[in-house]
Structure formats: structure tokens, C-alpha cells
Symmetry: C2
Subunit: 381 residues, 2 copies
Amino acid sequence: MTKQAADAARVERILVPVPLGERAYDILIGRHQLCEAAGVIAELAPGARAAIVTDDNLAELHAPALESCLHQAGIATTRLTIRPGEASKSYACFVELCDGLLAAKIERNDLVIALGGGVVGDLSGFAASVLRRGVRFVQIPTSLLAQVDSSVGGKTGINSGHGKNLIGAFHQPALVICDTALLDTLSEREFKAGYAEVVKYGLIDDAAFFDWCEANWRRVIAGGPERDHAVATACRAKAAIVVRDEREDGDRALLNLGHTFAHALERLTAYNSRRLVHGEAVAIGLALAFRFSQRLGLCPGQDAGRVAAHLTSVGLPSRLQDVPGGTGSAAEIVEAMTQDKKVKRGALTFILAHGIGKSFIAPGVPADEVRRFIESELAGA
Amino acid sequence: MTKQAADAARVERILVPVPLGERAYDILIGRHQLCEAAGVIAELAPGARAAIVTDDNLAELHAPALESCLHQAGIATTRLTIRPGEASKSYACFVELCDGLLAAKIERNDLVIALGGGVVGDLSGFAASVLRRGVRFVQIPTSLLAQVDSSVGGKTGINSGHGKNLIGAFHQPALVICDTALLDTLSEREFKAGYAEVVKYGLIDDAAFFDWCEANWRRVIAGGPERDHAVATACRAKAAIVVRDEREDGDRALLNLGHTFAHALERLTAYNSRRLVHGEAVAIGLALAFRFSQRLGLCPGQDAGRVAAHLTSVGLPSRLQDVPGGTGSAAEIVEAMTQDKKVKRGALTFILAHGIGKSFIAPGVPADEVRRFIESELAGA
Ligand SMILES: NC(=O)c1ccc[n+]([C@@H]2O[C@H](COP(=O)([O-])OP(=O)(O)OC[C@H]3O[C@@H](n4cnc5c(N)ncnc54)[C@H](O)[C@@H]3O)[C@@H](O)[C@H]2O)c1
Ligand SMILES: NC(=O)c1ccc[n+]([C@@H]2O[C@H](COP(=O)([O-])OP(=O)(O)OC[C@H]3O[C@@H](n4cnc5c(N)ncnc54)[C@H](O)[C@@H]3O)[C@@H](O)[C@H]2O)c1
């Protein structure tokens, strides 16, 4: 028995439905799903043509396999490749991609397939949403972050000079395929960064899953059933929140746990992935959100300590001091948090926590309070 | 009594609802609605800020009045101005407008208001649909074409080198205000061009309205209750079709009567408004659609004759020969019709007619048949 056959035999495919009415779709999770999934795509859009959008790294590693599976299933493909990295979520790449899809004569009944991390997914999902006012879109996320977060929920978009993800659309995919074997080629650093988003779901409202993460994180990284379980748990959690609040008018904001800090840190490091990638910023943001909650007297110090300890043992950053090259002053960090938003009477909306698994939306947190907290963090208190 | 007061007293405000479920909205029609409408906008979005998008012409003619009405109603405004003309429906203007809206700190609960013709409406509606993944959008159409067609139905978008309106979104407005007095400053040429779209609704499925147009078109141009009636009839007709088929999966294609020809002519005249504006291209397209239907033995010659005669008496073009500078050969026209589409086995989808008010969707019209028809038109047969 080959390793691949063994893998396939060992792991069942997990199906997570996302019941969004006429926009409902499935997430298929498991090792070596690619060829089986190609058949599902063919059922979804018989006779359609598919434009596969990917980046240079994935073009080499996984695009050829996907293409041959799709061809076997009777789907003709063209491939459009972008440069890896956050810089591709730009107006310029968006325009180029739209024109590339038009040149490939992708029409209303055809498909756009994203094969890549969150960058490929966000950019190509946005292009799919506006191409001929909307074509169907399939996500094949290849990074852990994309499998557990960005590929689910329909948020797509690009960055502007004014901030991240400020231009985009809610465009739900028609299907999401999480082939966890694709993650085997991901760098350890990117894998761990994605893992911060896995932990987030435990911290939001599932203390038992956080316990499980503490016990099983090594096996998640190694691959095997634990990895699939972690991806499925994350997708289920995200799907449940998205179904409650598709367009982020309420509850969905919980998914931003750690992200107000994270976005400021990404901005202050100029989205330079050599210094910080999104998931690393989220790791620091999670630890900060818990310590901030502790400081406000909302959350036991023990829980804040466990969060930071778990991130550290995995090898993730958890303090502002962990950012290579530094972050700037407290005032600069607060300024970066509010840059693209009107601050209502000097107050910010934060996701805070009463403890692990007990997060909540806190509107009206005074910006001054945030600044003083960051000052104490920078002082290493 | 001033002229304005007399106007206001004479004409009731007409309300046309567009019952699209959670995307339902109203169209308000009448002379001198602007200040009353500002109050409706304020009710829609209490405390919101509004970005008024307009073009240089309207900035001078009507923006100041709108702004002072909005300020009186308690809505703060900023103004973003584009250059008039189809060339502004470009990627470059789209990017500039998005960044302008971000610089003005327009947020999720704020408004984008389009004050202008179809160009301003299409461009700013698209920008509103993607700004922070969607903000509310109010249409204040100022051209006849925009009042009777482009402001209703939620289609927004820009052009690509590959063709018109290929990049965009379905983004329904929250409110449409058709102040028919705004049309008093419109050039006669633009007014008549918009009138072609009014006639179209009669030709699609309302023979009695076509009769009415033949009898009343002079009063529509002059202003007065007939103009309001024409705008309201057109809006009602469009709303009914849009409600049946919001995303153009079926019936809505009827609105394309005359447009397959029109788009080809616009393309062949390089969207140069000195040669041809959209409504003029539509006028020729309507006449061609009826003569083509006649040639195919579907439509009585008398009806095709009436269509052309009405357009001519209004002062609109109705033949390919009416295009200043010519259109190119039949083969070039057919090529321009199909350029941005896969042609399925040499066949095109057309809107044809069994007579005035009896239009239907005809898939599978052989491209050869179209070419021969155009040849005979060019030969003046
Ligand atoms: N849409 C959403 O809801 C949402 C949610 C969270 C994050 N995001 C966005 O996601 C982006 C980050 O996503 P990301 O972390 O996946 O970044 P990414 O797409 O840049 O991928 C990270 C790196 O890993 C490489 N890579 C991906 N898969 C690989 C594989 N299987 N093997 C080898 N290399 C591989 C990529 O080429 C890239 O160099 C950010 O832009 C963030 O804003 C979006
Ligand atoms: N979204 C849709 O459903 C839809 C439907 C039909 C057409 N369209 C689009 O609409 C556009 C054409 O619209 P349009 O004909 O209004 O063109 P336009 O917006 O370019 O306006 C035509 C000209 O009239 C001027 N103008 C407008 N209102 C005026 C007024 N009250 N007084 C003086 N001048 C005025 C404008 O400044 C411009 O120079 C095309 O881009 C077409 O694709 C969209």
C-alpha cells in the first residue's frame, strides 16, 4: 500500500455544510481530496470552464495535479498566476486579474477556482464577484490559515493605501475543498501562523477545544487525523458564526478576536512578511486581547497566562517585543488601530474575554485605556 | 406664485415601489423633489454622512442645491467629482473614486449618493458596492436615460478593454429620486437619447404605452405631467421585470431589446459621444431589432415601420447609415456583437418581436443570418 493509499484509507472525508439559504455550500475536508473534489466541481458546473487562480509557489507544487484531475472530470481549465504575498492584494493585481479572466472568456456560467492561501482566495474571490457582475467561485485553500479561516464565510477583497481589506465583496464560494495533505508543503512558519487562527476558535467560545489544542497541537502540525479534526472544528465554528451573521452586522465581529491589535501591527510593519505574517500578528493580538481583558478586571490572570503559554510553546510570538524591528510607540499603535475608522468620541470596539471560551464584543473601549495598556506592555510590565 | 411653486402644486409626487424583499426600495418621481427627498434620505440614515458623487457638469448645475437641502436635513456631505462621459467608467476612475471615498472616511453606515447620468450612477454604484464590502447607495439620476433605466434595477459597473459593463456588481440602491425638473438643463440631444429607452418599454410589452408615446412625446420633452408619467411608466415597467428576475437569469434579458446592436455600434464608434451616445445607439438598435424580426417573418412590416417612423419624428437615428462616420462592414458589426462572448455554435441570443409590445428572447439566432440582415441594411434595401 502506497503512503497515499494508506492516507486515503485512514481518513474519512468530513463534510461541513454552510446553510446560507440560496447561497448554501459545503466544505469538504480530508487528506488527498483533490481528485475526488474535481468530480464534485464537475457536478456543480457541468460543461463549465474553470480559471484556476494561483500563485507562483502553488503553480509549481499543486496546480498540475489539480488540472489533471479537473481534465479527467471533463472541466477545461486556464491558469492565471499571481506573485505570492500580501502585495498582490492590490488594485493593480485586481485589474490585471479581471482582464485576464475576460481574456480567457470566462462567462456567467463558468467558474473561478482559487488554489492558494488567503491572498489568492481574497483577490480571486473579489474578482469572481465582479466579473460580469458575479461568477461562481470555488476555494481550494492551501495554507492552514486559508483552510480554517479565509476560505470560509465569503469575505473577499483587496487592500488600499488607506488600509487592509477595505475594498471587496461578500461573495460566498460555491464549494470549499480543504485537502489537508496540501499543507504538507507549507513552511513551518506559515503553518504555525495559521495555527493561531485555529486556537482563536477555542478562545472565542469553545474552551474544550482550547484544551484539546493544548494536548494535540503537535499532531496537528505532524498531519494525520488530528489535523483534519482541527480544520473541521475551525470550519464548523466559523460557519456557525457566519450563518448567524453573514454580513457582520453583529456576532460575526467575534471572529475579530485579536485582530484589532493584529491589523495595527501588520500596518506598522508595512505588511512585510519577513517581519510578521498575518497569523503571527493574530497570535500577538490574541495574547494582548486576553491580557487587556485581565487588566480591565474582566478575565482571570490564569486564563491570560494559559493563552500566552500555549502560543509560546507552539513557537508563536505573543508579545509586542516579539515583533522583529519593533512596533513603534503606544500612541503610534493606537493611531494605526483607528486610521481607517472614525473613532466615535474617542472610543473603539474591541473583542474582549471573560475567560477562555468567553469572548464578547465590547463597544466603547476608551482609546486612552488602550494606549495605557500598550504602554505597560511595551514597558514589559 | 413662482414658477417653482406652481410646478410643485401642479404635480403630485409619484411613488414606484421596487419590492425586492430585504433589498426593497422606492422610486420617488416628480418635479422639484430634491429638498423633500433630502428629508427622506435623512430618515433612511439618521446621522450618516453622505459622499455625493457627481460630474463636472452637474457639480455646477445641481450639486449646490442638493447639498444645501441635505445640510438642512442634518446630513453632512462631501463631494467627489468625475469628468463627464463614458471614459470615466474605467478601472482608473474606479480606483480613484474608491480611494476618495476612503479618504472621506465613508463607513459602513454612511451613504454614497450618485447625482448624475448613467455614468455617475454606474461608477459610483459599483464603488459603493465594494467600499468596505458594501455601503448604502442613493441614486439621484439627472439624465432622462438614468431616470428611466440605469438608476433602477441595481446593475452597476465599469468598462474593460474587453467590453462595456464587464466588471461590476448587482447593488440595489436604497432609494431613487427622479426629480424631473433636473432634466430641464439636459441638452436636447441627451434628452432624446434617453427617450429611446422610454419607447423601449412600449415596444417590449406595452403597445398602449407606445401609442401614448406617439401622441405625447412633444409634451414629454417640454416637461409637465406627461414627462412625469413617462418616467413613472418606464420605472414601473423596469421594476416589474427586475423583481421577476433580479440577476438576469431569464426575463430581464428583455430589457436588452435593441441593445445587442447598440453595443456593437458603440464599440465600433469607440464610445465617442460626439459620434453616438448610448440612447442613439439604442434607437438604431430598436429599429434594427424590429426590421430583423420582420425579415425573419416574425413581425408585421407595419409595426417595424411605425417604430422607425416614431424614432425619426422625434429626431432620433434609426438606420446604420445615420451613424456619423459609418459603422464598418456587416462582418465587423457581427464581430463587435460577439467579441466579449463565446458564441455557442455560431449562434447569438437576440431579443426579437412578434410586433409592437410583443418582444421575446430568441436564443440560437445564427450569426450568418444576422450578417446577411446587416448587409441588406447597409445596402439600403
Ligand atoms: N477572507 C477572509 O475572511 C480572511 C480571513 C483571514 C485572513 N484573510 C487574509 O488572508 C491572507 C493571509 O493568508 P495566508 O496566510 O494564506 O497568506 P498567503 O496566501 O500569502 O500564503 C502564505 C505563503 O504560503 C505559500 N503557500 C500557501 N500554500 C502553500 C502550500 N500548500 N505549500 C507551500 N507554500 C504555500 C504562499 O505561496 C505564500 O507565500 C491575508 O491577506 C488576510 O487578510 C482573509
Ligand atoms: N446600470 C444600468 O442598468 C444601465 C442601463 C442603461 C445604461 N446604462 C449606462 O448609462 C450610461 C449612459 O448614461 P447617460 O446617458 O445618462 O450618460 P452620462 O451620464 O454620460 O450623461 C450624459 C451627459 O449629460 C450630462 N448631464 C446629465 N444630466 C444632466 C442635466 N440634468 N443637465 C445637464 N447635463 C446633464 C452629463 O454630464 C453628460 O455629459 C452608459 O454608461 C450606459 O452603459 C446603465
